[in-house]
Symmetry: C2
Subunit: 397 residues, 2 copies
């Protein structure tokens, strides 16, 4: 019997307890031993839960119990998740997490502590919910020099954009409905301002390129500025607007950004709708490969958490071979997003006074109150030099 | 330095040598040691190849060289691939392969020999070319009770069907063009008659359900019978015709089949075009998850072969923990495909004499020379009992 502890009995924590219980038979067949939930750490009590007797309020009960071999940190937020995770790792327990904030912020420290203590720190659930992304990129595409990762990494924004595209609802209406359906929080900022996507693309940059782009170096723009006019212009151009997290290696530097993007219909990301997520990876041998599924939700996220627990439990008696320790990219190793070339969609309130021919601009819309073009491959710096008017800019993929 | 040998210097063999050479620096960083191609086994000589000096014609040179730790069997066909692989495993060498025929036919024996000799037998490249499929399903969805796998597993047939759907070319024209472009063999039977897909879904059944459906128990139908009329009817119904390999568990039994299928546009497999492959997996926690990419080709397939080599090389000094040994499903454990319920597309040369109301049939086409319906969820046995006329049948997904 292998004892585990769950930190945080919220949506993902209760889903994890549910999957461990519901699929207990097949899990113990796969591991070769039973997995037992010994403790659940939460500030609250849950007297009506079947797991009521597992609840503890003091993390030290878990840290000091040598029988606990694996902790699942499912609390969210940086603190005390970081402190609890590092204490568990230092006590010789492996840790799995769904917490993208803590992985994107403290991943380098936590992986180092895990390596020093011969235990493992796994976080498949931190990106793409239940979709296997981190493990396949880190372990199954290892033959490749990975050049680029683009992902739809946030289900809430993708749901809102899908409503704007298919039902022609404006942003505010679509957001309000997403809130009603429980897809968006009352304070939707982490989703709609791109903060959640920013953390996830930072993590993917580390998996793909071996070093973490610190989240505060990821130029991040959300979807509040996307209008139905942009949606219609994108359609005219043969594209759908998606919030894309992008990490790319150019001339030995890494550039990462989050922004609304015109994804052409030839790109498989363009057909990913509603709350689904997709991660498109390009490697020099494989070409394009995409991972698709539900990027959030109680049971999908628990699927990844529990699969990580199974991975650790299966190899618990083996020596840990930790190849993965992340450094952070320094400023010298990062290419600022405004110097990363791409085609750009630019929309102006009216036709700009300067000629845009130097940008290779193709006119998409020419109305008295709205003028939109798509440029050749240029940087946003180039655009800023050419254009003096205010404009909305979105990348084209 | 870790020495490897390549069996077979055809398309995948030369691609594997190319990827190992081109990405040598990053591969040795990932493994912690250099990977060296010591031998390439082929009947032919390749005097103009940069690998000319590695070529040997006698497999025993490799088998008897204790320095060789990993063999990549990339020969294709059952024999002598099976004999060479088992000899290598018995000599204490791990084996990786792209050979779906040998894995689908002799997987149970080869995995057993590997386990007995404390070495590994990996075959990520045997399904989906370079797309990580086998490893993610087998290792990243382990929290799930997997209920169903549906896949577009053959790029040639998907290319032909895409030409029929998008360009309205008939089967013979589309096949001839695929042959011209090198996507189809001169003898296209393994592709268009579904044999390749049959082997791949047999392998996926073993990964998903722990036991192999023997390929000769997979009811297999290719795409030769698909007409432009069917393509148009499918479109009317909101679906695209795809050659689908399907493995599903129902009431404790497994059913596997390969047949042309009307894939509704709401299913993410329906938008997979040209030579691309996709594998859609359903698990009880994750819901639907899909893996997408190039299912064949020199470098994509080599990507999977080399990633398997890297996986073995990285953990070469570790004890092998082999959880995976396959048994074959017995006839009692297999549900024949004609008893597996689904909605069916049925096309007749003319309106049948019997009423189809008992099948819940929805009429899709009612022309003097062609009559097509889509039924409710029924078995093909049910259809056969109700209908006396000759008909074409395709599942609906």
């Amino acid at each position: 019997m292998i004892n585990v502890a769950i930190f945080g009995f919220g949506v993902v924590g209760s889903g994890t307890a549910e999957v461990l219980t519901q699929n207990a038979k097949l899990i113990s067949e796969r591991v070769g031993e039973e997995i037992n939930i010994k403790y659940i750490l939460d500030l609250r009590d849950f007297p009506d839960s079947p797991f009521a007797d597992k609840i503890v309020h003091d993390v030290n009960v878990i840290i000091n119990d040598p029988e606990v071999k694996i902790c699942a940190e499912l609390m969210g937020g940086s603190h005390p998740a970081f402190e609890f995770s590092s204490a568990a790792l230092k006590a010789g327990k492996s840790v799995v997490t769904s917490n993208k904030e803590v992985v994107a912020t403290f991943g380098p420290e936590l992986l180092k502590i895990a390596a020093e203590n011969n235990v493992r720190y796994l976080f498949e659930a931190s990106v793409g919910g239940g979709i296997p992304v981190i493990h396949p990129i880190g372990n199954c595409l290892t033959a490749n020099d990975i050049t680029e990762v683009n992902g739809i990494l946030n289900g809430t924004t993708n749901y809102i954009l899908t409503q704007m595209i298919n039902e022609h609802k404006d942003f505010d209406t679509a957001l309000a409905e997403a809130q009603e359906k429980g897809y968006a929080e009352r304070d939707p900022s982490a989703d709609v301002d791109g903060i959640d996507t920013c953390r996830k693309i930072a993590i993917l940059s580390a998996i793909a390129f071996g070093k973490l782009v610190p989240p505060d170096k990821v130029k991040t723009e959300g979807i509040r500025g996307v209008t139905l006019r942009d949606v219609a212009n994108a359609e005219k151009f043969g594209a759908s607007i998606k919030l894309i997290g992008k990490a790319v290696r150019v001339d030995g530097k890494v550039s990462a950004c989050v922004c609304p993007t015109l994804v052409r219909h030839s790109n498989p990301l363009s057909s990913i709708s509603d709350v689904y997520n997709g991660v498109l990876v390009n490697g020099n041998a494989i070409g394009d490969v995409m991972f698709y599924g539900r990027g959030a939700g109680k049971l999908p996220t628990a699927s990844a958490v529990v699969s990580d627990i199974i991975e650790i439990a299966t190899y618990l008696s083996h020596p840990v071979h930790t190849t993965q320790v992340w450094e952070r990219l320094t400023d010298d190793e990062i290419l600022p997003a405004d110097r990363l070339k791409s085609r750009w969609y630019l929309r102006f309130d009216k036709k700009p006074s300067h000629c845009l021919a130097s940008l290779g601009a193709e006119v998409i819309e020419d109305a008295p109150d709205s003028y939109a073009v798509v440029t050749d491959e240029v940087t946003l710096l180039d655009v800023g030099i050419t254009v003096s008017e205010k404009f909305v800019a979105m990348r084209v993929l």
